[in-house]
Subunit: 522 residues, 2 copies
């Protein structure tokens, strides 16, 4: 894999002097076109062997191109805000907007690679992490991000030579740290682990480019050439796509987007029709249970371990199913400082310029906090699918991306609760009419609600697909029979309490296990 | 000041039951109108004596209103990212967008009040901090934020009684901490300090409302009433303003905004005409000095104390004066991980929904980092003033707000550098023509540049006013003679190095002083 990069490529001064100005100018022109088009963003990963020139290369790119449109991220130690979030959060928050470039010196490969080479992470776990990364990068490219992955390489002999030479130079000595030598002593382990992940993550859309780092002129021109050709190719593609779209628009008059095809259900027996919507509660039982549940929830938020977890709740459901009422019963039990409700409305322009899930990542709660989403990332496989707001390939891949997203939260001790509030078609009609009749509730009923109602069967199919594909063991869907509001609220609160209790119990058990482990060692 | 709030106001159950539903409904309606109008945001400060019901009041507001449009902020200990920024940064980042409400339980008063009452901050310093706050709040209200300040009060006797009662209840005991008793022991100090700041900061636009916290029903209805009437009054004002604007638009045909009046200069002798633009450097001298300066700068960034400061640079200047070239000479000396260039373009919709300076606050650098602004917050007193993009009262108050903003950075060990790159009118013409003639540079010259050129004299006046009013000892303007690009770059880099060196020296001296202080104590 790294053989070619160990051949000792060089470029002489004259050849460099000839190539550099044209390359530079072309890069700048491409970058300018990128900013003009604003159709995609660019993520450059600068990885590789210590001393192979990653840092210098990044500085050079900044010098060659317009640094105002580039953000370079060293990614040192995570801050405490970052530590309170799933590990990928710090990368998500730094993803560039369309038209911009982000260069990462520390990348999502850094942690697994160090763990594997230095701390003996086992092969299986390492492989799993690399697969996670591969899926993350596929999501990026699917979302239109141009991902350019550079690996600056040095052979073992050359790395040693490089480090020694730096150490001898009093001006540059500071750049060689003890850690560099520690890493060098594990060269073979790094080499083996790198080879493995480079192989797995060299995909068609985001391949690795291995660059021989031994000669500064060669590696600079090579790197520039790689970045340039990736940029140019993509710019051309986008220009073509744009032209094709405009041509198509010019031909046909604007028409409503076609409805995305919905898979047929074999019979009328499905998870929604199987719900017994007649279930109800008397006002008296409700009052009693609500008070008990709210008390239970409030006490849970004061559990000594509660500030080690966080809670993400999301509410989806038929229009008028009572989402906001259910949310108010939950928040009624929690101190207002500890929750944050995120009503999902049209994305802002900053959100639109980033991958789909970015707007949800930025709302994740800190430790000991709740984030409550009123509608959620499932919009993609519900309304966007049904109304044709996104392409079939987009909502189709969303299921997997969402599972990955939630999986990261759960692994980071976030309790993820997903509620679908279901009412019958008749009940909805009654509620719509009530809303129209009550002056104070009129703003809650719009033409859109009536339009959605016409799509009732499409929603049934989309919900079945959604639950089928995204109800996982760690982040299950809870279907809530909501014809009776009392019953629905009690079910939501009960589920919430139980899931938090389970997570706290799991933590306690884990702590005990650790203590036991320590004892038996000591 | 607090006399009325110690009278022991109460409200009986029947009166509460009568008032509550109507209040609640009116609050919800007002909140809905707020979201519809999206003309202003609401900031509610919930301050007061421990045990007087602040927290309960906030929870109640969340229960009464739509909590999806409210964010409640407990403001506990700052995170490490927050500690790396000026103290107000954590409030700026939480300011609500137009149409939304932010409730602060910990407020900008908390730190000075605690410092004064518990740690004996001297009266003068306390007063200064309160004046800073008063100016900050005036900025908020000038920017259209509705600021509602609630002070929940309890007499000394009642506070003692309240704390004791809570302690006796096994269900509520957890709410009384040792800190509460410590604070209680300083009741008189808190009382005196509170009285002082309530007096100073009770302004026409953001008055304090003192609420007797002894009776839960009375304080709830009172608080609700205050919030409601503030909201309604403002909503009506905005509706009137909107109607007036529409009427005015309907009458007159749309016309270019009138040029903001520019103060006349007595003669042609001013800071810009006094510059000797003939100064220059030979290529040889330049190369030599540039290398030395870039080396000096690079070594400075590796100074052991450099990660205790941060650097904010901003570049303004005539079109084609060479801002981006100068920026590149600076960044050429710094590792790309440590700087971040912020080109100021049109604000995003999230930025537009916040006070003017919000978009700059969010870009401030962390410790050990540079933020380089290509154009800046001075746009308000330059292009926006000249083109009439904002009202006279807006750009007029900007000078003071900017001074406050920069002052906060400087006090937080940020080196603030402000460069005005000046070229002569003839030199500009030459450069414009060059740009038009060079295919590769054509994108750098637009119609706007030619239009700005017609406004040359207006810019001269605006720049003179700007420097006059915002060149302070701690954040001075550096006027750069930029007809010769070599000379300009060297001046920028020299200034930068000197200012960083001065700040590092100041830090070292301060450390020594502290050590000496410790010694003489020990």
């Amino acid at each position: 894999m790294f053989e070619s990069a160990e051949l000792g490529h060089t470029l002489d001064r004259a050849a460099y002097a000839e190539a550099e100005p044209a390359l530079r100018q072309a890069l700048l022109a491409a970058q300018y076109a990128l900013g003009e088009q604003r159709r995609f963003s660019v993520v450059i990963l600068a990885s590789g062997i210590d001393g192979a020139g990653r840092r210098e290369a990044v500085n050079l790119l900044n010098a060659w191109m317009d640094p105002r449109q580039i953000e370079s991220h060293g990614m040192g130690e995570p801050s405490d805000e970052e530590r309170e979030q799933p590990p990928m959060w710090r990368f998500w928050r730094r993803l560039p907007a369309k038209g911009k470039t982000g260069i990462f010196l520390g990348t999502w490969y850094t942690a697994p690679l160090l763990e594997r080479a230095m701390n003996g992470l086992d092969a299986h776990a390492f492989h799993e992490q690399i697969e996670d990364i591969a899926r993350f990068e596929r999501m990026l490219t699917d979302e239109g991000v141009l991902v350019i992955k550079l690996w600056f390489h040095l052979s073992k002999a050359r790395q040693k030579q490089r480090l020694k030479k730096l150490e001898e130079d009093p001006q540059l000595r500071w750049r060689v740290t003890e850690r560099d030598w520690q890493h060098f002593n594990r060269y073979d382990d790094f080499h083996a682990a790198s080879e493995q992940f480079v192989r797995i993550t060299s995909t068609v859309n985001a391949p690795w480019h291995i660059i021989d780092g031994s000669d500064v002129r060669y590696r600079s021109i090579t790197m520039g050439g790689i970045v340039l050709s990736a940029l140019q190719m993509r710019l051309d593609q986008e220009a073509e796509r744009l032209a094709a779209t405009q041509k198509a628009l010019a031909k046909k008059p604007a028409k409503a987007a076609p409805v995305a095809p919905i898979l047929g259900l074999r019979d009328n027996l499905h998870i929604l029709s199987a719900l017994d919507l007649r279930q109800g509660l008397s006002k008296k039982d409700y009052d009693q249970q609500l008070e008990a549940l709210q008390g239970r929830l409030n006490i849970l938020t004061r559990h000594p371990s509660f500030n080690r977890i966080s809670v993400v709740m999301l509410f989806e459901g038929n229009d008028a199913a009572g989402k906001s009422g259910a949310i108010r019963r939950v928040t009624g039990a929690i101190d207002a400082r500890y929750y944050h409700i995120v009503p999902i409305v049209a994305p802002t322009d900053e959100e639109r310029a980033h991958p789909y899930l970015w707007r949800f990542w930025r709302q994740l709660p800190r430790r000991g906090r709740f984030a409550i989403f009123d509608r959620s990332w499932y919009g993609r496989v519900l309304v966007e699918r049904i109304e044709g707001f996104c392409r079939t390939e987009d909502w189709s891949r969303a299921y997997g991306e969402i599972n990955d997203f939630e999986d990261q939260m759960v692994r980071h001790h976030t309790v993820v609760l997903k509620f679908w509030l279901a009412i019958s078609k008749d009940e909805q009609l009654t509620r719509f009419k009530q809303r129209e009749a009550t002056e104070f509730k009129q703003y809650k009923i719009t033409d859109e609600d009536w339009r959605n109602r016409d799509r009732w069967d499409d929603y049934v199919h989309a919900v079945c697909d959604m639950v089928e594909r995204t109800s996982t063991a760690h982040a299950p869907w809870t279907l809530v029979e909501a014809n009776d509001k009392y019953f629905a609220c009690v079910k939501v609160l009960t589920t919430l309490c139980e899931r938090i209790e389970a997570e706290l119990k799991r933590l306690t058990a884990q702590d005990k296990g650790k203590k036991r482990g320590k004892k038996s060692i000591g």
